[in-house]
Amino acid sequence: MTDLTESISAPPVGVVGTSHVRLEGREKVTGAARYAADVPFEGLAHGSLVLATVARGRITSIGVDDVLAMPGVLGVIHHGNAPRLNPEAGLLGTGDATLQLLQDDRVPHVGRPVALVVAETAEQARAGADALVVTYEEEEADLVFSADHPGSYTPAAAPEKHKGDVDAELAAAPVVVDQRYTTPQEHHSAMEPHASMARWADGRLEVVDSNQGSFLVSYVLSVLFRLDPGVVRVRAEHVGGGFGSKGIGPQLILAVMATTELKRPVRVALTRRQVFATTGMRAATDQRVRLGADSTGRLRAIDHDTATHTSTIHEFVEFPGEVTNALYAADAIRIRTSLVKVNLPTPTWMRAPGCAPGSFALESAMDELAEAVGVDPVELRLRNEPEVGPISGLPFTSRNLVGCLTEGARRFGWADRDPRPGVRREGRWLLGTGMAAGIYGAGSLPSTAAITAHPDGTFTVGIGAADIGTGARTALVLVAADALEVPTSAIRIDIADSDLGQAWFAGGSRGTSSWTWAITAAATDLREKLADIAHIPADGITGRADTAPLIGALEQRENHAHGAQFAEVAVDPSSGEVRVRRMLGIFAAGRIINPLTTRSQLIGGMTMGISMALHEEGLRDAQFGGQVNGDLAGYHVSAHADIPAIEADWVPDYDPSNPSGVKGVGEVAIVGTAAAVANAVWHATGTRQRSLPISLERILTTTNA
């Protein structure tokens, strides 16, 4: 077993930990940064999707001829002529039928792509797609998810997990909180709609894409189209946000089909409505949380049941119980999940999958427990701090939730809080404060990297990382500079190109921890090689690393980032309006590489959390299954005027299981935000809000003015 703790107990000194503006910042503020749909290609054709308009059934005809006769139309790809795909392709290595586009006449849900119209210009393609007549034989669809749906089952991917006797502890506990909490479907809504360009050139399939991991996408694409992996090259230099939605998108699969059939470079850019319809969403959840405690608030039992939904074609499991796995100690813990297959699109990962909706339930219930036992909510959490993994019994790599709670409480001014709800008024506003804790998994996944030393004293780092707005590019250069002991100006970095080799994708808050490890290991390899030679040849000397064996040798640990969030809200009971007046998040997320961009990312997570708390709800027609609010007017995400000055900061933390001490920050900052806001709304009004979003009508129908 590798014990890294001793060798790296003292963080090295250097540029890591100091603020640096983004390397690509100038391109981003001048409009020079090119995203997938911005890159010009000679002879480019444009593809426009046609989506199914029925919730379940079979395609009976597609009016191809009329559309082929339209100006500029080059072709119509549909299930009758599309290339056959390999059903074994999927992002996680097993077949995901969500990717099996245009393979048969079946329609599993509204919005399933049924054709792609390709034309010389985007306008012509759009006109052709709008004109394409598709007829269906409709079948009865199952569209409404509910916790008591007769088709509910326990998915193999989320079996019951428990320790101790939850039922006995609940029966014996003097205080029990037993409540249901619901969260709606939510949509990632990255500002850049998914776009891809695909072409065949010099025997290779070349793709310019918007994704969170070009190597993984290239690999899955090669499996899907039964190509040699080396044939496919995927690049995604700049990506306009992802939040989990940018794996292998329908626009990419269809662009590859079209370029293969039509022998032209083809760009497919989704419209905003198509982004809502075809790129997945966070599944709705219906959660029951039961907490049993003694009179001091010490937890005897946590019982966390979730009901959620997936599509009829692929089993994706939203797993809110994840948050209960390691947040609090209790004598007995039980996590159960039930799943229903309905005729809706396949859900997918969205920022802090599981933990974001799960923390709304658990952290709301903890606030209700604090009220029931008369213990301050911060103190209640301190009293239930675990020493080891509550279920696993494994030690933590590092854990500083206590620091988050105490420092957050100090800076927010929590000690002065009057715990009584509904007693502060300022004109038409009722005022309240609330808090919640958060947790999200950390760790490193196998990645490769190469660093080349050039004769002029500069270095080129190559790693298949992705920068979807995280600041990865900049952070990785800081780490490389320290590893090589050279200034950042001596380093250039290439990322987001599948030809750079295997690397973990920007997901699961594990990008930076995975990539920095590969870079430091490659730097070590390079420095060893340089020590043996007198002069660097013209084509340079390259050091390489693959962290798979190092990561494989790690001991099992509970590894998580933690946080505590504090919110002050004002609620107008006569209009139902909720305003977040200020918000503070304190995090323990390992070593912070670049404070400037880390703070932005943490504040960004909290901002999305406020949006989740107050605004976001994907609404579907219960009869036809179509999305009622599939655009940015109907599906409101927080705008400038919704967001107060948010503060984010951190307390010391260091993950000894990777050389840079890094944990991720992409997800932990949205975990707990919604509960902190909801708890503050209760403190303001005296009424609990157990369903998201806390919309005007929910306030109006539950709160006495």
Binding site: S189, M191, V239, G604, H640, A641
Partner: protein
Amino acid sequence: MPPTTRSDISLRVNGETHVLTVDNRTTLLDALRENLGLTGTKKGCDHGQCGACTVLADGRRAVSCLQLAVAAEGSDITTIEGIADGEDLHPVQEAFLELDGYQCGYCTPGQICSAVAVIKEHAAGWPSAATADVRPDAEPVPLDAAEIRERMSGNLCRCGAYTAIVRAVARASDETKVTA
């Protein structure tokens, strides 16, 4: 294609006049991006809901996705590519860069174009929904955080950079006054 579906137009963009033939259905946004290669202006929704395509038309903010290119003849259009003075960044661009007023960068061109106009609109005495006293003879209000948030609300940012954007606009506004 029959001649009735295309038009020859001239567009004045970033101080240059471009003569081009466009499909009558082409939006100003698509003409900038596809015909003129000015891809700094972004398409976030194509429905005027997100602000990513914001440009300045005769100095005023406009969502270029809601205007047809054929209708933009005669306007003086400024895109993100025309905001800087050569190599010298505009104070708004400088402030976004230094204060990290973005993350993924996709909404950034629209935010910056909007901010440039917001500072001018405010300096010209235009009120907003956040302005308490909107009478024509009211005292000018400072461009504080509440004013900036209100005036910038047409520009969505999903990464959640609002907190830093507000700071950046405030700083650029202060600097613009000093140098004006």
